[in-house]
Amino acid sequence: MMNSNATSSSSGVAGSTEISTPRRNSKRPKYSKFTQQELPACKPILTPGWVISAFMLVSIVFIPIGVASLFASRDVVEIVDRYETACIPPASKSHKVEYIQSSEDKTCNRTLRVLKRMKQPIYVYYQLDNFYQNHRRYVKSRSDEQLKYVRSENDTSACKPEDNNGLSIVPCGLIAWSLFNDTYSFSRNNQQLTVNKKGISWKSDREHKFGEKVYPKNFQNGKLIGGAHLNSSIPLSEQEDLIVWMRTAALPTFRKLYGKIEVDLQENELIQVAVENNYNTYSFNGKKKLVLSTTTWLGGKNDFLGIAYLTVGGLSFFLSMAFTVVYLAKPRRLGDSSYLSWNRNPGGH
């Protein structure tokens, strides 16, 4: 009906165009569905059937995804060992910060039991808690130019508030300065377990973010020693621990890849880890954990997605049921004009 209306009015216009004066004629736009706001449109409305089936569909899709992700997460075998308190000798328990800052040998032996068979590759992570890599002072204190190009090695202005004493420190900035320096060596049945530390960083970082000709310079030479030292004969692009560390974490609890164990571990095997406990998390009560984990299509062990999917799917199912019940119990005719108040009571609102 609207269409016939529109066409008739448009033809009417065309007819009168010839009559009207040419001056006014030019003002008249060409008839188009856009200018007349008559573009064909579909107007979906929220009918009970539509809404109930939408919620049903969501629950049908979400619940299997939730189950699948939950299974994936359960498939992951994860060994977490918190060692920062255990690795303090009982004598130093009262002054942990002094202990960690002293130069004595801080090697500490830990034994991990493999609860379930772990297939290679097994990822070795270190996890820090309560460590704010996302702090504003920290996260900005780096110079990407300097990491990439030799010519910008003096370009340390971005590295404030690190104090460089006029030297050009490479790599500069708080992030690099606080590089994590605990090391782990693994053995199984008194046999060394090799940890592959190659390829733990992003390939793109090695190739495009860290220069092949940029060598560490004046690093950790200042009064304040932060974290790890770097071998100044290895270019930055091969300093993978640094590259990993420089990918700052967005959360105060984070894991960073330490290396990969490329053999399978059997159930109930015992693994000895010699931890060199160097990194100071004691001054801010941070935790340090060593994590060995396998991986699946969804990543590491994380039940959140599975549970969330099941929750949303379940709620959708509940809602669709509830709406159905309400609809059956109290049907309401859509678009009933008797609901228009002005039809009941003409003249007033």
Partner: protein, 1106 residues
């Protein structure tokens, strides 16, 4: 203050006055930048953004690259500056064109062509036919032997008919050659903008000496921007030049109008600003506390132990910058953009084109279309707005005999024709007055037919009617009028014209019969200004009755009268008249007084009734708009009876005995006060009943009421939905608009003539009808339409859609800004309250400018919640817009809550799904950003009522575009985002996170919307459902008009109810409200309303035309 213009004197008047350079420019090349920036920065929003942008230049506190604010800011400023510059450049070009036009000017006695800008005051300027007048001139010569010339003043006042201008008497008869050498002085007032007055004197110097100082009026001038027509040449002395011309003085840039929604948006912005300050203060304190307690222990952050004095401020300022995106920078630009499209939709609307003249509707003001949807009061003019302003002579009453009562058309009344044929002297006099008591100019075309050019529609109607009745006004030569009566030529000398003014309400001419030499005064005018001047002893009762009867039929009446003058009386009067005419002070008043001296002892000849037909569709339009909850006030200069009659016939008052008219009248303060109080009491009493109460007030009472009883009148104005104000002046119209505006009502004024301009400019929305009274009103108005009935479409369709769409767009803009801002705030809690930005600069900038703008812009241009037909059938739905139901603090709170909820969903899901080894900063920020983009796409889709292809394209295309843009950015090694997006898109966990965000974010929104839609549905929802299901909606169409013509219905009415004249007003004007209701209750046939109901049904006939 006066100015003396020495004619053609190159030495005596050096550059005392400005040259003729016209300048409409707002800026010059030098001051453009500072002036434009100053103007832009006078807005609060812009000041705010500038402050933010400046703060960002401080690297210590800026969370992101300053470019993310400077970029959009500069872009926005550049866009508006460019627009201004372009407009100004166009003004400059048109000025330049006008300034460099060639003009022939007498210099040292020789005619020379010079540029228009080089003419000076005192120069003699020659014009040829169809030339544009370069400056204000006093005529001194024309090609016409009588010294006449014709000008078209359309550019000045919008009136399209030709006006006669005449050279001053002193210059009469000066030879063409001698005009070069003419010298003299013109004494004229300083420049002003009154285009209807020019009170000046002219004295010529020897050898053209004239004893008298010759008075000059506006009739002796031709003003800038007029065109010379039908005259071979004319010449004149420049008196006002450049920007000092009357045209130049009346130019002005109108104040920009602020819509109710703008005000609401400003208010909400203010609220958000306060919220932001609170957030900043709280987070600032928290940040400083955390810094002192925790951050000092975090050795890797290296907080120094001593810090500069401003250290305490750093964290709050960082948060201020982080939260600055709460107020969307793009909202102004987006609103301007869509609003200009809404205005274009009005221009483009084929259904608002007046097919008779081919005039489309036009929106001159592009910024206020949503206000149309919020109109609460419509103040309308009557003549030309509700009526067609096409006057047709219908009836007359000559010497107590009514003509035209049977047929409804006096021109076909056999009795009248017979009377004319028999040559009854009364009738001949009557026709003579009809034919020549006017300022009409007959124009003889080549084919011999005569057309009339008249300034007043009434006069044209009378002259035409006279011509049909064999009294043809053939020719007007200077002061000689020629009439052809039944083939015999009669000539009259036109001695004087006593012009019409709205105060005098009558006009007269003094003519001399060339044959007999007798002098006559012929007058015509409104009954109350003519009848009191009747000759002593003449019975005017029959005329009063005739006037009343005609007025009841909605006809306009004029009384015609004449008097023979003594030669001596005329002479004596003539000299006083001349003197008054040359007065420089109070000329108008003095002339009026002198005219009064002649216009007395008149012999009333009869009454003419002129029909001004209602425009098509007026009653339906008013009915619909009244149903939509809009109150109508009619403001007219016409007389009460006519106004009331028209009001009744066009549904101003409800037809059944529901309606009630209350009259406020009185000549003195006391009377007005009493009557006002009485009406107020009645209105209060009846307010609770479903009854339509309208009050009627005339200009005099209105003035008293507004002056002394404003409070009571305001109360009455609020209580009553309808009012009829008759005999009001233009300034009173504007006052009434002001009154309603001061009560916080949205007003729309609609009119067509020059007398409506002030009201149109005063109102929130001014609508002009590009009608027969010229384009003056249409020019001053925000919207111009061809016919009154388009108002319905303008308000119900365009206004309503604009309101809905703007409401959505503005709230959505806040929603998306708040969404991203809340995420930043949440992130700050897990980043040591240090003010780290989760998102990088590029993403933040692109989020506002690209990712979130296109879908909402497209939707807010195309979305239609209800189809046009449904809205027009159910105008009541406008109530939602009027009451501001779609944009107010509570709807805004809904959007605020939604953005908070969505921010929580995105943030919580992101940090949990991307925890531990995945918690890489760049990846996480991208996950959160994509979450926001997905949600906003679904939110737009949810809020869209009608999907066209374009909307699908915009919403889903935008989502795809987001990925494409980010893939491109991720492919550039130099960016921080290098490879991030490719990396994410390969992870199944990324996609599962996205679906989870959408599911968790939209599920509750859908459930809530569905619940409200089905179980707490608004009227809009019900209509939407009805529309979709195609159910009973079509049967609801309650207007089923039956085309009938007005004349057929009216004619029998007036005959069958001649005695209804007297009782008509009595029940309405009875003293107490009780009496009024008694008259309703007693079941007395209430003729007034009965006739009305018949009329109203007969008027509804336009639906066929639609």
């Amino acid at each position: 203050m006066k100015r003396y213009v020495y004619i053609n004197d190159d030495e005596l008047s050096p550059n005392l006055y400005c040259d003729n350079r016209i300048s409409n420019r707002k800026y010059t090349l030098l001051n453009f930048l500072p002036k434009n920036l100053w103007e832009q920065f006078s807005r609060f929003m812009n000041q705010y953004f500038l402050l933010i942008a400046c703060l960002q230049l401080w690297p210590l506190i800026t969370p992101v690259n300053p470019a993310s604010t400077w970029g959009p800011l500069i872009l926005i400023f550049a866009v508006s500056a460019t627009k201004e510059a372009w407009d100004d450049y166009n003004r400059y070009l048109s000025d330049k064109k006008a300034n460099e036009k060639e003009v022939w000017v007498v210099k040292q006695g020789i005619k020379k062509p010079i540029q228009a800008q080089d003419t000076h005051v005192g120069n003699i300027i020659w014009l040829r036919e169809n030339d544009e007048v370069p400056c204000d001139l006093v005529l001194i010569g024309t090609s016409d032997p009588q010294g006449l010339c014709y000008v078209e003043t359309a550019a000045l006042d919008g009136e399209t008919d030709l006006k006669t201008r005449v050279i001053p008497s002193a210059c009469m008869g000066i030879d063409f050659e001698l005009l070069h050498k003419i010298k003299g002085v013109i004494e004229c007032p300083n420049p002003d903008k009154d285009i209807r007055r020019f009170d000046a004197n002219l004295r010529l110097f020897p050898p053209f000496i004239d004893n008298d100082v010759c008075p000059l009026t506006i009739n002796n001038t031709i003003l800038q921007s007029c065109y010379l027509r039908n005259t071979e040449w004319a010449c004149g002395v420049a008196v006002y030049t450049g920007n000092e011309t009357k045209m130049g003085m009346s130019r002005g840039i109108p104040e920009p109008k602020l819509t109710a929604m703008d005000a609401m948006i400003d208010k909400l912005t203010g609220a958000i600003f306060i919220f932001q300050i609170v957030v900043v203060v709280v987070l600032g304190i928290a940040g400083n506390v955390w810094k002192e307690t925790e951050a000092r222990k975090q050795w890797y952050v290296q907080y120094p132990n001593e810090s500069p004095w401003y250290e305490l401020l750093v964290i709050p300022l960082r948060f201020e910058l982080l939260c600055s995106i709460m107020i969307p920078i793009s909202i102004k630009v987006s609103l301007d953009l869509v609003k200009s499209l809404y205005a274009k939709f009005i221009d483009w609307d084929n259904e608002m084109i007046d097919l008779e003249t081919g005039t489309p509707a036009h929106a001159a003001n592009t910024a206020i279309s949503e206000d149309l949807g919020q109109v609460e009061y419509i103040l309308t003019d009557k003549t030309g707005t509700l009526t067609e302003n096409r006057m047709i002579f219908k009836r007359c009453c000559i010497s107590s005999i009514f003509y035209g009562n049977e047929s409804g058309d006096a021109l076909q009344d056999v009795e009248l024709l017979n009377a004319i044929a028999s040559g009854s002297p009364d009738i001949i006099r009557f026709l003579t007055v009809m034919a020549i008591c006017n300022t009409v100019i007959p124009m003889r075309s080549k084919s011999g037919s005569i057309s009339y050019k008249a300034q007043s529609q009434d006069e044209e109607a009378l002259v035409r009617a006279a011509a049909r009745l064999h009294m043809v006004f053939v020719n007007k030569n200077a002061n000689t009028l020629e009439i052809n009566f039944n083939g015999a030529i009669v000539q009259y000398d036109l001695l004087d014209i006593l012009e019409f003014s709205s105060d005098r309400k009558r006009m007269s001419v003094v003519v001399k019969d060339c044959r007999s030499g007798k002098i006559f005064l012929l007058s015509k005018g409104a009954d109350e200004s003519i009848l009191p001047c009747a000759r002593v002893g003449q019975q005017t009762r029959s005329f009063t009755e005739a006037v009343e009867q005609y007025a009841q039929l909605g006809l306009r009446t004029l009384c015609l009268a004449w008097r023979e003058l003594d030669e001596d009386e005329y002479r004596a009067w003539s000299s006083i008249f001349k003197e008054a005419n040359s007065a420089l002070v109070d000329r108008e008043w003095r002339v009026a007084e002198v005219c009064q001296r002649l216009e007395h002892e008149l012999e009333i000849l009869g009454v003419v009734a002129i029909e001004d037909r209602l425009q098509d569709g007026v009653p339906e339009t008013i009915e619909s708009l009244r149903k939509a909850g809009i109150n109508f006030w009619m403001l007219t200069g016409d007389k009460q009876t006519t106004a009331v009659q028209i009001a009744l016939s066009c549904s101003f008052v409800s037809p059944e005995p529901k309606g009630q008219l209350l009259l406020i009248n009185g000549k003195t303060e006391d009377e007005v006060c009493r009557s006002l109080e009485r009406v107020l009491l009645t209105t209060r009493v009846t307010n609770s009943e479903p009854k339509d109460v309208a009050f009627v007030i005339d200009g005099w009472a209105l003035e008293i009421a507004l002056k002394h009883y404003k409070k009571a009148f305001v109360e009455l104005a609020i209580l009553s939905r309808t009012a009829i104000c008759c005999r009001v002046t233009p300034s009173q119209k504007a006052q009434l608009v002001e009154l309603l505006k001061s009560c916080d009502y949205r007003t729309l004024a609609i009119g067509d003539g020059g007398n409506d301009v002030r009201m149109i400019q005063q109102a929130d929305i001014g609508v002009g009808i590009s009608g027969r009274e010229g384009l003056q009103a249409a020019r001053a108005a925000d919207y111009s339409i061809g016919k009154f009935r388009f108002l319905k479409r303008l308000i119900l369709v365009h206004g309503r859609y604009s309101y809905n769409r703007t409401a959505f767009l503005s709230q959505y803009s806040f929603y998306k800004s708040l969404l991203i801002c809340f995420i930043q705030i949440f992130f700050s809690f897990i980043s040591g309250v240090s003010g780290t930005s989760l998102f990088n600069s590029v993403s933040l900038m692109a989020y506002n400018v690209f990712y979130t703008s296109i879908p909402v812009l497209v939707t807010s241009v195309l979305d239609k919640d209800l189809s046009e037909g449904t809205v027009l059938q159910h105008p009541q739905i406008l109530f939602y817009c009027q009451a501001g139901r779609l944009l107010n603090p509570s709807t805004f709170a809904g959007w605020f809550g939604r953005s908070l909820f969505h921010a929580i969903v995105v943030f919580v899901i992101t940090i949990h799904a991307y925890a531990y080894e995945k918690s890489e900063m760049e990846e996480m920020s991208m996950v959160a950003l994509s979450g926001c983009i997905w949600l906003q796409a679904f939110v737009v889709a949810f809020e869209t009522n009608s999907f066209t292809m374009l909307q699908h394209l915009a919403i889903w295309g935008n989502l795809v575009g987001f990925y494409i843009i980010n893939w491109i950015v991720s492919a550039l090694p130099s960016t921080g985002m290098y490879t991030i997006m490719f990396r994410l898109c390969r992870q199944p966990s990324y996609w599962t996170t996205m679906f989870l965000i959408v599911g968790a974010g939209m599920g509750p929104v859908l459930a809530l919307k569905y619940f409200r839609y089905t179980y707490r549905s608004s009227k809009i929802n019900i209509l939407q459902q009805a529309e979709r299901l195609g159910g009973p909606i079509l049967s609801l169409g309650n207007i089923e008009p039956q085309p009938r013509s007005l004349e057929n219905d009216v004619a029998p009415l007036s005959i069958t109810q001649p005695k209804s004249r007297n009782p008509v007003y009595e029940p309405l004007l009875s003293d107490s409200p009780n009496a009024t209701r008694r008259s309703f209750g007693s079941g007395t046939p209430f003729d007034f309303f009965q006739s009305q109901s018949r009329l109203s049904s007969s008027y509804s006939r336009n639906c066929k035309d639609n």
